[in-house]
Assembly symmetry: C2
Homo-oligomer: 153 residues x 2
């Protein structure tokens, strides 16, 4: 078993397209050595980094934040299981929060389905402390909260 992977191999093993892997490299999320012929060769440890990236994305973390998290790994040595455990644990709150939000939305929706009121002002929508929206222009993944005095009828 070789100790390095081609981009094609890493792609198959990680389930991430080669183009995405190159993209991750440009963003500084993963790294690769080069052969004499300028081809990428990935250390096996990169497989774990890619796994971490995909998991983090499922949690809802942006590539930029993932990069920051990965930057906190020790550079000198190959990250230990504890290192990975620490990083994974750092998303735990985010994950809990998302699950909590979605669960409440479900419960509220159930309540509203009963009466068809869709009056989620008192339900899912009007919960300022729950919104985690970013600032500035561009697409927003999380929704900004509605006005405090909003009513539906």
């Amino acid at each position: 078993m070789q100790d390095s992977l081609t981009i094609g191999e890493l792609s198959v093993r990680s389930g991430v397209a080669p183009s995405a892997l190159r993209y991750y490299e440009r963003l500084g999320l993963i790294r690769a050595d080069r052969t004499g012929g300028n081809q990428r060769r990935y250390a096996r440890a990169e497989l774990r980094r890619v796994a971490f990236i995909r998991i983090s994305q499922q949690v809802g973390v942006s590539l930029d934040e993932i990069r920051a998290a990965l930057d906190s790994l020790p550079e000198a040595r190959t990250p230990s299981p504890q290192d990975w455990a620490r990083l994974s644990a750092s998303w735990r709150g985010r994950l809990d929060e998302r699950i909590r939000l979605l669960t409440r939305l479900r419960d509220d929706l159930d309540g509203c389905i009963g009466c068809g009121c869709l009056s989620l002002q008192r339900c899912a929508l009007n919960n300022p402390e729950d919104t985690l929206a970013g600032e500035g222009p561009g697409a927003r993944l999380v929704l900004p909260r509605p006005a405090e005095d909003a009513t539906l009828t």
Copy 2:
């Protein structure tokens, strides 16, 4: 109390920016009458449509699908509570699925945090039946599954 809202009023009441409301209108998600001076006037019922749109987005539904759902509402009359209940209920499965996915990810992450293995091949990632990814180019919100034989080490 007037029976129609300006775009500014609807914006404040719904918590959605005027630019977004115009965008929704272009996509056919909401509609507005016009005054003599060509300004939009929204019927109060539109407030409920906007609420439905925002809720649906939180569930993870695209605007295109939301439009399709809204198109299924009766055109002749103002939608009844039961109409809204039916639409809301139609997202229920999606919401459950998302919650289930996220919850399993959390559990798996907990397991992996214990050992730092991040070997989510047997955990969160390698679950083909869970992926709901779309096809074609462009950004993907849901992640494609990795190869079946993928291992991490």
